[in-house]
Amino acid sequence: MGQVARKPMVDPGAGHGGDIDLKPFINFLVVLIPVLMLSAEFAKISVINLKLPEGRGSQTSQAVKAPPKVDEEDKLLLTMIITDSVVTLGAKNGFLPSMFYKEFHKYVSRTDRTVELTSEVDPANPTKPVLNPKTGQAFEISERQDIFLYVCDENKNVVKCMYTKKDNLMLTSADGVPLQSVKGGDTVYTTTNPRKMIIVSNPAEYEPRPLSAYDEMKNKLLKIGERYKEAPDREDIILAAENQVAYDKIVQLMDVAREAGFPNLSIAKLRG
């Protein structure tokens, strides 16, 4: 008993001398945290560069119709077109079949982040207010978080395609056809640039999801990029949009074009 109590008394320096004096370290951390906080960036802002031809306002549809004369025959003049119901690709020789899409908007309430609603946009009345399921009031436009475009067929049914569950990557066959189903042992390709080959080992890792028009556009652009490697303007693409198309869609399509290997973007206006 007495020995137990005496132990610290006998060797008083052992306990304290063995510990590191942490006070200076804490002081250092307390100073370091505000310094780092000042220079931390929480929301990363980046930029998309777009260079207009000098001396003119912007590239208009006339510029598409009357391109510069130099080796016009070889040029691809790839154009991505977006209207309020269709996305498609056009080039010098013609147009690919139009891709009709259905538009879905995802709203998240500003006051209560748990209230979410994804609703389809009525093409006949696109400005129709969407009601908050909790309060019954209409969502403000700034509460719109995401715009999804899903490809639909002639009967206005949304087309499904296989996606990886984890990364949400669209799967296609070797020649770029969207896959409807996968089974073990299949060889599939993702729509990344360059395409990645996957041999399906566990079909449960994949599931059918609505085919996003952005993914399908990327798929088509990848195909075109592979086929027209020789074109002198194989990095150029013109993005033509209709007046009422939201800026968000344009930025998404610019992303798609850049990822598919068409970094030189120009923007044109589609006249009705």
Partner: protein, 168 residues
């Protein structure tokens, strides 16, 4: 004596600050902040009620240029309101060469300032760079009119500000 010694030992232990957990916490905070450290700081200031679209782009904004911001209600140049967006929408869409008058005046003033700086030798040449921040819900019509106006004034290199999507 024995019991006294034990009491002293116990009280000393309970009143002392428990520093280990505090240091753990600080270390985690420091590591997190170091991860999101940027040497440039934020060059672009985000205008109020303006939601930038998400993009995969990782190009960093380089220098400070003239900034045009287009929100749903107002168009701002360098954070000064210039013209209501509603007025821009009223410009007829058939116009092949739409010019936003007030924005043009403002940008011309900026451009003249840059020319003056070139004359004084503070700049080498006018780069014609402009940063455009557009709310993601603004329609293409407004964007086109802004781009056309900027291009007419002489700002041809446009940098569209976007939110970088965090990649895990």
């Amino acid at each position: 004596m024995a019991s006294h010694g034990r009491n002293k030992f116990l009280t000393a232990k309970s009143t002392g600050l428990i520093i280990t957990s505090l240091i753990d916490f600080f270390s985690v905070v420091v590591i997190y902040l170091m991860k999101s450290y940027s040497s440039e700081g934020s060059i672009l200031t985000n205008a109020d009620n303006l939601v930038l679209p998400n993009s995969m782009s990782t190009t960093k904004p380089k220098e400070i240029h003239v900034q045009v911001a287009a929100a749903n209600d107002m168009i701002l140049v360098d954070n000064v309101p210039v013209v209501p967006t509603e007025d821009v929408r009223k410009i007829p869409q058939e116009d092949a060469d739409p010019i936003i008058k007030k924005l043009e005046e403002k940008l011309k003033a900026c451009y003249a300032q840059e020319e003056e700086m070139v004359r004084l030798g503070a700049l080498n040449k006018i780069e014609g760079d402009i940063t455009i921040q557009v709310d993601k819900n603004v329609d293409f019509d407004v964007l086109f009119k802004i781009m056309n106006t900027c291009g007419k004034v002489g700002y041809n290199k446009m940098n569209f500000a976007v939110m970088s999507r965090s990649e895990e």
